[in-house]
């Protein structure tokens, strides 16, 4: 049986608040936790079928051109080498998120330095790794390969363009205005688990254990790449060692392992080296941005301009959506937003945690701080007075809007001093100390999703979907939703994820997972409740379930009487998608210290207050926020992809030289979860939280650096060299 809900209207019934089990919204520990802490959670590369061969990708050492010859004989006589796979179906880029089709193939055409061009398969990993380095490849290079955005004429990404009123006029008439250029460097997802796939072909069906975020799209992408029917494929991703965008689309190792397994008729494992993960999956584009803010004497914005230049390879549809939240965060009559894309021959640009806001918000919120200083207004107050009543561009109502509450509750919890602000006031020894704040915003997305919920005769429940848990807590929150709806403790709910044989979920990405798949489980459970209500002689609305029984009545086991009830919940966002602007909001507060001599910045403490609809599990939700704040520290201080100016290759392609934050970079962090139900966001009144926590945090740090030492930076990351260059003498 299946139950379908297409949501055209806000759901204000808040049914989940009226259930009796009381497991939803509780800070429960993860149900997959024991497996993870004992090392018994099995990640993709760890499946070891009998007779598994090992493949290592070979990557291009030119920027642009054609592979004219692959000398297979150069490695086939090496010990253990089985084959060189140079099938034309090999993919050369990772698919973009939700692509639903194969990414660029034709491996003989090279578009960027480090692009995969072949796979060497051997009996052991050591043999394959060595042989991959020995494979002789002859190229014909194309000299015309611009590798830097300033070398090409960018094109406007027209979907993003907004022109309302007269910004130039607003700027010239403004009592206060700022016009600032910002730059941000590229970022890497750098998930801890390298991209990996183990493919097995039994002559009829291909089973691939792969590290992927969105099996519902990935299976189509893989089928398209292999030119096979989807029903001959099975993808499994039970545990994914982090994704952050890099595993949204099917990547090169999965296609390569699949082709090799079918060609060699034996299982093949392909795991990317860390350097390959850096060089041939995804980068977040660098950005150059211009912020123009015009305000009247009281600080009300009259003009708002945000332009950005990003880059990507020719042929890629993705453009870092820098302006995403700028479209609606602050009211201003005159608006001008424009996104330009430069086509260059660096590795693929794509989604890295919070595409868009991750770099757009730090620029916008940095500019807001400069404006607040010019006006002489508390920066919190400047945000508060510019919160729009409705979407300032589209005129749509907000589904729910908690920015003001976040700013106020955050300021209160942090102990924000709303008095006069002046930089370079507090010094402790070598260190300047200061505070800063910024707003957070991240668009809320929701997507079609299916999940099968089965209530077993023994009163336990099984939830099945191809949805993945990449560390967000999906396993746990789905158990909580099902437990809440069906009156079960979560240890009575088995959640089976990450198998393409299950109903298709939304995939994990864009922070839409919980709201989408949670709604599908909710819909499925509701249908089961209908059946249970009938059996109990009551209505679904009246049915009260807790501790495995009807409250004051029969047990579920008795009610089921040997039957199982299985329902496929199918959730689809309908008109709510078009009728509302939906976003998570928040506020960041930071206290930093900056070394007067060395320009090193250390964060003393940081607080984030966030409103993202119903909190399904405060423990895992808080962890998502902590993760986001951690990333914002990376954006602020350390993370920067460096590309060679001549051949465009990613230079710092490892974890020693691409500096993700370490333990010691993280101070005491505090998270305030602002109470909210968002009825137009999803039937479970929840929004996404996987990304919001990093959308603007870097600006709070930048603003604190200024407040501390007087160095106003317009470049991220704010490394010691840049801080020193901007520090007043």
């Amino acid at each position: 049986m299946s139950a379908h809900l297409k949501q055209d209207e806000p759901d204000t019934s808040n049914r989940l608040d009226n259930m009796r089990q009381g497991v939803l919204g509780k800070p429960l520990s993860r149900i997959d936790g024991l497996a993870k802490v004992t090392g018994t959670a099995t990640y993709s590369a760890e499946y070891s079928p009998e007779n598994c061969a090992e493949g290592v990708l070979v990557t291009a050492t030119i920027t642009r051109g054609v592979v004219t010859r692959i000398d297979k004989d150069s490695v086939l006589s090496m010990p253990g080498v089985i084959s060189v796979i140079d099938d034309a179906r090999l993919t050369t880029r990772a698919a973009q998120g939700t692509a639903d089709e194969a990414p660029q193939q034709s491996p003989r055409t090279v578009c960027y330095w480090g692009q995969p061009i072949a796979l060497v398969v051997a009996e052991t990993f050591e043999q394959a790794r060595d042989a991959a380095k020995h494979l002789k490849v002859i190229y014909r290079e194309n000299e015309a390969a611009p590798v830097s955005p300033d070398l090409v004429e960018p094109k406007e990404h027209e979907d993003e363009t907004v022109r309302q009123g007269d910004l130039a006029r607003a700027m010239s008439d403004a009592a206060h205005s700022v016009d600032i250029a910002y730059t941000t460097k590229g970022h890497a997802s750098a998930a801890m688990e390298p991209h990996a796939a183990v493919a097995e072909w039994d002559g009829k069906k291909l089973t691939v254990h792969a590290s992927l975020q969105m099996l519902n799209f990935n299976i189509t992408e893989l089928a398209d790449a292999l030119d096979m029917d989807e029903d001959k494929l099975r993808l499994v991703s039970r545990f994914v060692g982090g994704g952050f965008g890099s595993k949204l689309g099917v990547s090169e190792e999965t296609v390569a392992a699949s082709l090799a397994a079918m060609e060699l008729e034996r299982p093949v494992r392909v795991v990317m080296s860390r350097q390959q993960v850096f060089q041939c999956v995804m980068r977040r584009s660098e950005t150059t941005q211009r912020l123009r803010l015009a305000a009247d004497k009281d600080g009300k914005l009259t003009g708002f301009g945000h332009q950005a230049l990003v880059s990507n390879l020719p042929g890629e549809t993705f453009a870092e959506p820098v302006l995403q939240s700028s479209h609606f965060l602050y009211a201003a009559e005159s608006r001008e937003l424009k996104l330009n894309v430069a086509r260059i021959h660096q590795m693929t640009a794509g989604s890295v945690r919070a595409p868009g806001e991750a770099v757009g918000m730090p620029a916008l919120e940095g500019a807001m701080d400069v404006l607040a200083e010019k006006i002489g207004i508390d920066p919190v107050e400047l945000r508060l007075i510019n919160i729009p009543e409705e979407d300032p561009e589209q005129g749509l109502p907000f589904s729910s809007h908690k920015l003001a509450e976040c700013l106020k509750q955050g300021a209160e919890a942090f102990g924000w001093d709303s008095g006069h602000r002046e930089p370079r006031v507090k010094r402790e020894g070598e260190w300047w100390v200061g505070t800063g704040m910024a707003s957070a915003a991240r668009v809320h997305n929701v997507s079609e999703a299916k999940a099968r919920v089965t209530l077993k005769p023994d009163g336990t429940c099984l939830v099945e979907t191809d949805m993945t848990d990449i560390g967000t807590g999906t396993y746990t929150i789905l158990a909580q939703i099902a437990g809440e709806m069906l009156g079960l403790e979560i240890d009575k709910v088995l959640v089976d994820l990450g198998d393409s044989q299950h109903p298709r979920g939304p995939g994990s990405g864009g922070s839409w997972g919980a709201a989408s798949i949670g709604s599908a489980v909710y819909v499925g459970c509701k249908a089961i409740r209908e059946e249970l209500a009938t059996r109990a002689g009551t209505s679904e609305a009246e049915l009260e379930l807790a501790e495995g029984r009807v409250v004051g009545g029969q047990t579920l086991t008795a009610l089921l009487d040997g039957d199982e009830i299985s329902e496929e919940g199918h959730y689809e966002p309908g008109d709510i998608k078009d009728d509302y602007t939906a976003s998570g909001f928040g506020a960041f507060f930071a206290q930093v210290r900056v070394n007067h001599f060395t320009g090193e910045t250390r964060i003393d403490r940081m607080l984030g207050a966030f409103g993202f609809g119903r909190v399904l599990n405060p423990k895992t939700a808080r962890s998502q926020c902590l993760g986001g704040i951690t990333w914002s520290i990376g954006v602020a201080l350390t993370e920067a992809l460096e590309f060679d100016p001549r051949d465009g290759h990613l230079v710092n392609c490892d974890l020693a030289e691409y500096h993700v934050p370490v333990h010691r970079d993280l101070p005491e962090l505090e998270v305030v979860l602002v109470d909210e139900r968002d009825p137009a966001a999803s039937p479970i009144q929840a929004k996404g939280i996987g990304e919001l926590g990093m959308c603007g945090g870097a600006a709070a740090i930048a603003n604190a650096i200024y407040n501390a030492c007087g160095a106003r930076l317009f470049e991220y990351p704010m490394t010691p060299d840049r801080v020193l260059a901007a520090m007043p003498e």
């Binding site: 520990s29 936790g33 990640y43 050591e126 990449i470 895992t620 902590l626 704040i629 333990h663 993280l666």
Partner: protein, 169 residues
């Protein structure tokens, strides 16, 4: 005589190819995949194991160099039936998200307690000599060799502090 390594108390023969790292030996030859490969270059700490009582990156040493050594991996620290205090604290404090760095974090923290008990100083120690006080800053510095990209650091430190307090009392 066959050369072997003791892993969690069981002897495993050393493979013939000297290129096999201790990490690949554990994951492939010994079939113990709890130890993770995150970078293979000593830059992430996911492969941290305890060799003869000392924590090291198993990716940057050869299996052949460990004949007769005694290795403890995450599988030897606790089991699903009997997890260690740290493993339980990680669950309670949500000291992980994706879980990939987690075995390394736990192995690292397990060995760190010994280092602290021996009063080994760290870069964060105010004094090089004398008793080391287990502050948040001490834990953060000592755990900095274990990257967590999910950003569970705050919770990892909370879990470790909880166990430190338990041990102290």
């Amino acid at each position: 005589m066959t050369q072997s390594i003791s892993v969690n108390g069981a002897q495993h023969p050393i493979p013939n190819d000297p290129r096999v790292t201790l990490l690949d030996f554990l994951r492939h030859d010994a079939g113990l995949t709890g130890t993770k490969k995150g970078c293979d270059h000593g830059q992430c700490g996911a492969c941290t194991v305890i060799v003869n009582g000392i924590r090291i990156n198993s990716c940057l040493t050869l299996a052949a160099m460990h004949d007769g050594d005694s290795v403890t991996t995450i599988e030897g620290i606790g089991t699903t039936d009997n997890p260690s205090a740290l493993q339980r604290a990680f669950m309670e404090h949500d000291g992980f998200q994706c879980g990939y760095c987690t075995p390394g974090q736990i192995c690292s923290a397990t060995a760190m307690f010994e280092e602290l008990a021996n009063n080994w100083p760290s870069d964060a120690s105010g004094q090089l000599e004398g008793k080391i006080e287990i502050t948040g800053e001490e834990i953060r510095e000592r755990m900095s060799g274990n990257l967590c990209r999910c950003g569970a650091y705050a919770n990892i430190v909370a879990a470790i502090q909880a166990v430190a307090t338990e041990k102290g009392s």
